[in-house]
Amino acid sequence: MSQRKTFLLLLPAGVLLVAFLAIPYVSVFISAFREPGQGTPYGEGYTIANFSRILGDWFYVKQALNTMLIGAVTTLATLVIGLPVAFQLARPDLKLRGLFYGIVLSPLLVGIVIRSYGWTILLGNNGVINRTLREWGWIDGPLPLMYNTLGIVIALTHVFLPFMILPIMSAVQGIDPSVSSAARSLGAKRPTVIRRVLLPLAMPGIQSGCILVFVLALSSYVTPALIGGLRVKTTAVTVVDAMIDTFQWPFGAALALTLSVLGGGSVLIFARLTRMKWK
């Protein structure tokens, strides 16, 4: 087939991505500098007031820092919890491997609203965890598990754990088993093999898992909204509030852009620090 004809295959996707992704991203960037409108989503003129309002108000700065902290802690928690599971799942001789793999995938099949809802049942003041602990006589009052940063981190860790496990698992599966046998035969102990051989080889999977979870956690809305309630709000929740409840579109756009730039910057720093090779 000629070059021109094969190009037609790409045309629908190209049109979709340019018209409904690239152009809207340009327009949202411009719209973040619009003046607030009177009865319309935005006004005529241009201003940097939306950004100076964010950077000049400790409330928004603190909230953004807290959101970044939630993202970072969630990433770390999914890594610590997920790494051994990814290594176990990558073993070809594992019994019931299909079942365990299904369990890891299961959260993805259950809607994000439903999963967050499940956590509200577990974490609430009258929830499963608090009531069980009280019945066992371990605590007097309820532990503060919901409506705070801790609850959001717990639920987000659950929600995004598969996104950490799956990339690491596929990286580990790509490691030639003879590499670690070679290390063992040269006298390396098991912890040394893990630290010096397996972890470095699994690094690409670890890096993509970390970036994926961090970015998803930063921009997630449902889980922080349901678990944090009105008490703790992340930047993403405030963005949606600004867009829907108070109808301040340019401000919402500016806030979302600020969060995305912070997130993108952190990813670049992370990639530089871990000497990531982009693929």
């Binding site: 991505l17 919890i81 099949l109 259950v110 929830g127 809305y221 349901l226």
Partner: protein, 260 residues
Amino acid sequence: MGRNVLNIYCLAVYTFLLAPIFVVVGASFNAGEFLTFPPQGLSLRWYFTFFENEVFLRAIGTSLWIAAVATFFSVIIGTMAAIHYVNFAGRYKEAVRVAALSPLLLPEILTAIALLFFLYDIGIGTTTMFGLLVGHVLMTLPFVFMNVSASLEAYDTDWSMAARSLGARPFTRFRRIMLPLIKPGMIGGALFSFVISFDIFTISLLLKSIGTATLPIQLFDYLKTNYTPEAAAVSTLSIVATITVVVIVEKVIGLKMHKF
């Protein structure tokens, strides 16, 4: 010894992964007025309440409709792009891949806001379902692309050459050789696309028009003000439906997600 520690640790993680799902399912059979777990007596009353609740039924209808239409377009557009990517993209291969996966790489909340501004600017706004559909096609496209290109990578171009030397025209080669080989990838992609579309939240929240709340939106709205186990009943039915479909497709064609 080390093996056992690892196994116990992994079992704990699996429990953690399943716990919220079990709790929701358990709470749905609650006989009481309020959400408690373990349930106070078993009953199906909340399922009956749900079947009489038009709001939820309409939301499920909307979700199914949007997921079906979005999947239809996603599969066509994504399959075409994947065929180009694997066979013809040449030195632009990496650029095509990044572009096709970009809806997944960009923060969903910013994409939703960008689309909202854009729809308003071109005068459509959220008065029709157009924006909602476009958003769903965008978000599901990467999954079709990943699945189909994975099955295409395994496709040997010699087959096509052999057919060509035997006199098969391009369309016949596509229909008789390539299509049967990439069909599992397309079905897998369609399934992923459907499940993902059913779960899209932020895009649906910002782009929905009046009366087109999808199931996740309706459920979220309900949960903000209500604590009855009805939401658990709705959730349980949705979990059962999804798992049934996935298991059937898995048994019939076998799902493979090669790249993540």
